[in-house]
């Protein structure tokens, strides 16, 4: 596959982008959100059709007019949001659309054999006969990989495959990628995680603002150069300095013996005004569940939440908001935004009562002004407040979510994976924002699966395992080994 050049107008244009991928090579594709990575890959996968340019596979020009064509050409796509039918099991998902038949009936045995063969090739084992919805995220991803392999994919695109995985699972994924590379499969690997690139990439292509900025082999493309190419300027890769917590700062959030089966077990902790507390733990340890219970997203079965010393009865999210708690969810598309609504409507959704005039009607002018204010304050990249959120890039969407909560006068901010899937530049902006909030006296609880982030951005670190807080570290004592030991239950 050689020489793709194409442009793609729209909200984010691709302008004359070319890249090549050899057989048996891992090409990392990096770039900020909105740089055009996804669009480019969707063109390759036949989800979009390019306006100009051409695609060559094995030196022959091909016209990829749809997903089926791409599949027939041996292009396999593994999206960040998986394309599995959750009610079907792994075998049926792998066979989907290409079911082996015996007469008019599906040949179940052949389908099962094909699925097993794919997993044997990968050298892994995944439960095949239970609905994929009940599998872990990592297992679902493996099913996706097996699915594209069973369709004889020679080019596999992986869109941030490591984003939702634990470190151990990422290692296993890398093992599989290396195995595929040896088998002659070409892999395009999209990632935001700089530290992964040396481990897995052969070459690296940087995309910025819809153009390919630079391609070098991994060995002579140091991380600093990559980041500079991505953002077009030098970026301080370090975390910003945390402002000290005032000595007598009052406790803003106090959680006492919170319980909700099965993953919130007698959880007690507190966060002081101006303090950022990080919550570390393995995926599935119950961190999100704890935050959701505090925010009223799931109802607590027992326990109490105090905001500024006052007991708050939180039964629904609206109660939490009234109590001054803002919950910035992990999954912005499913939980954070109404994609079919405009930026303005999303920004004001949680505090709409503030825009209602005495006649009971929403004051569009004030609403519009507030939305424009947010757009400016957070430098949200949108043509205007009337843009549908659906049309914005991931990092920009995350800013809209933040804008929504900053509009209120929350005392407590619960961040669940605030920087997942967003680029270096946007990350720095979000860190800056958290610090600004802390300076203004907000209490912040941040759940994150990225250990450097937890360690770099927290005054204090809580470690969660099996729905309990098993360790607490002051900033100075929070070393990676200590936190990981606590999170995994290994004797420290």
């Amino acid at each position: 596959m050689r020489g793709i050049g194409k442009s793609f107008p729209g909200v984010r244009a691709l302008d004359n982008v070319s890249l090549t991928l050899d057989a048996g090579e891992v090409l990392a594709l990096v770039g900020e959100n909105g740089a055009g990575k996804s669009t480019l890959m969707k063109i390759l996968a036949g989800a979009y059709v390019a306006d100009t340019g051409s695609i060559l596979i094995d030196g022959r020009e091909v016209a990829i007019s749809g997903p089926a064509v791409a599949e027939a050409l041996g292009i396999g796509m593994i999206y960040q949001e998986f394309n599995l039918v959750p009610q079907l099991n792994a075998i049926d998902n792998i066979a989907l659309g290409q079911e082996p038949t015996r007469g008019p009936l599906i040949d179940e045995n052949a389908a099962a054999q094909r699925a097993r063969a794919a997993f044997t090739d990968l050298g892994i084992d995944v439960p095949l006969t239970i609905p994929t919805a009940t599998l872990s995220v990592a297992q679902q991803q493996l099913v996706e990989i097996a699915k594209v392999l069973s369709r004889k994919a020679r080019i596999i695109v992986m869109d941030e495959p490591s984003a939702a995985l634990t470190d151990r699972e990422v290692d296993r994924l890398f093992g599989i990628i290396r195995r595929l590379r040896e088998a002659g499969v070409g892999i395009i690997y999209i990632s935001h995680r700089m530290e992964e690139l040396p481990k897995i990439a052969d070459r690296i292509t940087v995309l910025r603002d819809g153009t390919a900025i630079e391609t070098r082999s991994q060995a002579d493309f140091p991380a600093n150069d990559i980041v500079r190419a991505m953002v077009g300027r030098d970026v301080d890769a370090h975390f910003p300095e945390l402002p000290p917590v005032a000595a007598g700062a009052p406790i803003a959030l106090d959680v006492r013996s919170a319980r909700r089966a099965p993953l919130v077990n007698d959880v007690s902790f507190s966060v002081r005004a101006g303090e950022i507390v990080g919550m570390a733990g393995l995926v599935g340890a119950g961190r999100t569940e704890i935050v959701r219970a505090i925010a009223g997203a799931d109802r607590m079965q027992a326990g109490a939440v105090l905001v500024d010393g006052k007991v708050e009865r939180i039964r629904e999210p609206s109660d939490a908001i009234a109590a001054g708690i803002a919950f910035i969810t992990e999954d912005r598309k499913a939980q954070g935004l109404v994609l079919g609504m405009t930026v303005r409507e999303n920004v004001t959704l949680a505090h709409l009562e503030r825009f209602v005039d005495r006649d009971g009607l929403i004051d569009r002018k004030r609403e519009d002004a507030a939305a424009r204010g947010s757009i400016e304050e957070l430098s949200i990249r949108t043509p205007g407040p009337e843009q549908l959120v659906r049309n914005l890039s991931g990092g920009t969407q995350q800013k809209v979510v933040l804008a929504k909560w900053l509009l209120g006068k929350a005392r407590v901010f619960l961040f669940d994976e605030p920087t997942r899937g967003i680029d270096v530049g946007a990350k720095a902006e979000i860190y800056g924002l958290m610090i600004e909030l802390a300076k203004n006296g907000a209490a912040i609880l941040m759940v994150s699966s990225e250990l450097p982030e937890v360690l770099g951005m927290s005054h204090r670190v809580l470690v969660v395992r099996a729905g309990r807080i098993v360790a607490e570290f002051a900033r100075a004592d929070a070393t990676p080994t200590a936190v990981i030991a606590a999170a995994t239950g290994a004797a420290a």
Binding site: A295, A297, E316, P317, S318, A320, I321, A322, F327, T329, A334, Q335, G336, L337, V338, L339, G340, M341, T342, E345, L349, A350, L352, E353, V356, G360, L361, I362, P383, G384, E386, Q387, K404
Partner: protein
């Protein structure tokens, strides 16, 4: 902002507005022109226009209530039966009251609204408490309400003793004024429809409640986490639909001077949903307008009227109606795709 940017934003806003208004309007205008030519100008006579408006009243009001429900990604199949049930109950109430004039009408209507609102509330309970599909719960309500209206009435229309309802049913509105202006007289039900449409449009487009209706249809979980009281809003939406059904029952009863269980033939609910969908409201939720529903109902009404004027046989009318509904929705979809690209 530079004037150029402001103009661009304005254009985008305008486009967004046209996106929201259904394709019904476009189809509608084209259709009116064609029909008028075919009917040698008979169609656009003012008397005929009023008669069309009169005919769409029931469907339009049911559709307006339905619009709220459908924007939350729900559906209300019970509206036709509820209109029937409310009509029967109101006829009985009216006959048992020793009241006259406005008071009689007000109390009767209140009784109907109570029944319709309560039925809507009951529709909502399994939907919000147990997350059951509204298709099922309102289907059940459709049967129950229809059955009840037959039981209560003994299966026969209940004639109204009082003649006080006649004016509401088909009387002219401000007759002195319209005749002074050489306008055809406007039946009172049409005024009801217009008032309800305007009020509901404001409710949907300009209030918190309306915004939340859209938010729930667009992403219920995000709305909930943003503090929207989803259960309350969803319940209200079915109550509104029930209230609209009650109003239709009231107008129908007034127009025919009787409450009849035979009001509901099953077509009302389908036509109401058709009006909503033709009006550009998405069955997937999150998008829709009252104006669109009005034009959807108007389109259906115009077709009915035109085919009668042209003497098309009634079986063929159904075929044409179905085809036009499909065409309107297809055109709307194509138009949206075109606008999304532009």
């Amino acid at each position: 902002m530079t004037p150029e940017l402001a103009a661009k934003a304005k254009a985008a806003e305008l486009r967004a507005y046209w996106m929201r208004i259904g394709g019904a309007i476009l189809v509608f205008v084209a259709l009116v022109v064609i029909i008028n030519i075919a009917a040698h100008g008979a169609f656009l006579r003012s008397g005929n226009i009023v008669s069309v408006l009169r005919q769409i009243t029931y469907n339009c009001i049911l559709g307006i209530g339905q619009t709220f429900v459908i924007i939350t990604a729900g559906i209300d199949l019970s509206v036709g039966s509820l209109a029937s049930l409310c009509g029967v109950v109101m006829a009985i109430v009216a006959n048992s009251l020793h009241l006259h004039g406005f008071l009689l009408l007000a109390v009767t209507l209140a009784a109907g609204l109570a029944v319709g609102g309560l039925a809507g509330y009951i529709n909502a309970i399994p939907v919000v408490r147990l997350n059951l599909p509204p298709f099922i719960t309102t289907l059940a309500m459709m049967q129950v309400a229809l059955g009840l209206s037959y039981i209560i009435s003994g299966g026969r229309p209940i004639s109204l003793n009082s003649t006080d309802f006649q004016n509401t049913g088909f009387g002219p509105f401000l007759h002195g004024l319209t005749s002074a202006l050489h306008m055809p007289s406007i039946p009172i039900p049409v005024i009801w429809m217009i008032v309800i449409a305007v009020a509901c449009s404001v409710l949907l487009m300009r209030t918190r409640f309306g915004r939340y209706v859209f938010a729930i249809g667009g992403n219920e979980e995000a709305a909930r986490l943003a503090g929207v009281r989803v259960k309350k809003i969803k319940t209200l939406v079915y109550v509104i639909s029930g209230l609209c059904a009650a109003v239709v029952g009231f107008l129908y009863m007034s127009g025919f001077s009787s409450g009849s269980p035979q009001t509901a033939t099953g077509d009302e609910m389908l036509n109401a949903i058709a009006a909503v969908v033709v009006g550009g409201t998405s069955l997937m939720g999150g998008r829709g307008t009252i104006v669109g529903t009005f034009f959807g109902a108007l389109l259906i009404g115009v077709l009915d009227n035109a085919m009668n004027l042209l003497g098309i046989n009634s079986y063929l009318q159904k075929v044409v109606l179905g085809a036009v509904i499909l065409l309107a929705v297809v055109l709307d979809e194509l138009r949206k795709r075109y606008l999304a690209k532009a």
